[in-house]
């Protein structure tokens, strides 16, 4: 059996005295795209933070690419696993140019050929070279999120943690970013662990999902459950219904008649 990209076993996470996540266990296969879905307060973002090492108080076992993860930050880990944050307006340093932001991971890890790498990466995330020396306030939300994705990819990690990467964006921009993430995954063979509350986004991006409620995983289901509402847990079904899923009904009312790609 191959080693999973991400593996959690009986993980409990607490902030101070309150335990926010209990007994979470799941495996994400190499190259898979896995979603953690749930509503606010379900603990889904906390799980992601714990894997990234940003929530230090946890017990249990977390391993990434077969290597068990300690509680602090370590460099080897950062070369394997990176994260894209939710709010593109808060995830870029307001006083640093895009070039500086993208250079930093390379400088920390002592990697050479930085200038070329930055230019390549800008192209890979669909940003024109003109953006290289701009400050974040000169960019739109979608452009900033592209920069954040580029920053995460600079160290060529194999696992990406995505924390609601499009929830702060407009629908049309969301589509562009989702397409970009999908393309990057295909081209670079990345593994995604994505946190979201948006089930249609899961349907587009992911292979499997874990539904979380009040700090626990209530169900792990394949993406096809979204097609027919085949969820076992009552909470999952409730969430599915509230998100506009109606199994067995006619196709979505507002689905455009036909869409020719030509």
């Amino acid at each position: 059996m191959t080693i999973p990209a991400i593996s959690l076993k009986d993980v409990d996470i607490s902030y101070g005295d309150t335990r926010v996540v209990r007994d979470v266990s799941f495996d994400v296969a190499l190259g898979e795209s896995f979603a953690l879905v749930g509503e606010s307060g379900s603990g889904k973002s906390t799980v992601l933070k714990a894997i990234a090492g940003l929530a230090p108080e946890w017990t249990g076992e977390i391993s990434v690419l077969g290597k068990s993860r300690g509680h602090g930050m370590d460099r080897a880990f950062s070369e394997n696993c990176q994260m894209v944050f939710q709010d593109p307006y808060a995830s870029l340093h307001p006083r640093k140019t895009i070039d500086t932001v993208l250079n930093e991971p390379l400088a920390i890890h002592g990697i050479g050929r930085r200038s070329e790498k930055v230019i390549e990466m800008l192209a890979a995330v669909g940003l024109d070279r003109r953006f290289r020396f701009r400050f974040p306030h000169q960019l739109s939300g979608g452009q900033r999120q592209r920069v954040a994705i580029a920053r995460a990819l600079m160290l060529e990690p194999r696992v990406m943690l995505l924390d609601e990467p499009t929830s702060a964006l407009d629908v049309s921009v969301q589509a562009e970013i989702l397409n970009l993430l999908k393309r990057l995954r295909r081209e670079q063979g990345l593994t995604y662990l994505m946190v979201t509350h948006n089930l249609p986004v899961v349907s587009f991006m992911c292979d499997r999902m874990a539904v979380m409620n009040k700090g626990r995983i209530v169900e792990i289901a394949p993406k096809t459950a979204l097609y027919d509402g085949g969820f076992a847990d009552p909470y999952s079904r409730e969430l599915y219904a509230a998100s506009g899923g109606n199994p067995g009904a006619e196709p979505d009312m507002v689905a455009p008649a036909t869409k020719d790609p030509a």
């Binding site: 592209r146 089930l199 509230a242 506009g244 507002v254």
Partner: protein, 280 residues
Amino acid sequence: MNETPLLEVEDLRVSFATPNGPVEVVKGLSFTLGREERLGIVGESGSGKSMTGRSILRLIRAPGKQTAKTLRFDGLDLMAQGNRQMRKVRGARISMIMQDPKFSLNPVMTIGEQIAEALRVHERLPRRDLRARVIEMLTSVRINDPGRVARMYPHEVSGGMGQRVMIAMMLIPRPQLLIADEPTSALDVSVQAQVLDLIEELVTGNGMGLILISHDLNLVARYCDRILVMNGGEVVEACAAQRLHEASHPYTRGLLAAQPRMEETRDELPVLDRSGGAGT
């Protein structure tokens, strides 16, 4: 009397002065809203939809400026009203619900006091009646144990309940028109539906008009009779809600197509064609 529409807007313009000259964010908007009609205004950020909502209440602050050929509410010319008269209209006859209840509620007043305050500004009532009205209103927004909630402070309630409190506050003076600007985008999906159902029920039950402003096409289609789609400060499409899927304007169609679906089979989402090609 009931023949006149509730709200008439003609050639509404909002512009902001910048060092590089004025920038128009709403460019000549015209629409009418019938009594008991529910109108949805949809658009992405920067489309001018929120500014439209604010300008109906004349809430555009300097350096913004608004002009309109007609801005008539129930026969009253809003553009001709002074600040004092506008204050009587706001809240009492036209109410507005904002996006995030956390920023709209006063953190150091109990919920009951705030709702009572909203009523007291517009009506003189004895203390006991005031309290009864507050409890009645909280019950009507489906808050269990309204007596206890009335004594709570805003930080003690959840987002969904906070938004229901906001709705209670906005509806207690019995306005004729409710403007809801992204009333649920800060809430979870399961709570969203409850809050919108509640708004719908109260609006139809009291014979009020509703303007629902949102970025979410599906949501607006579900809760409104008519939809205006805005882009770049202009209405690009106006249609009945149930005919949204027949929308003809490329922008509207683009927006609809760009949304991932629950039964997604497409390998790539179609994106809006943006000239410039720099990527957003």
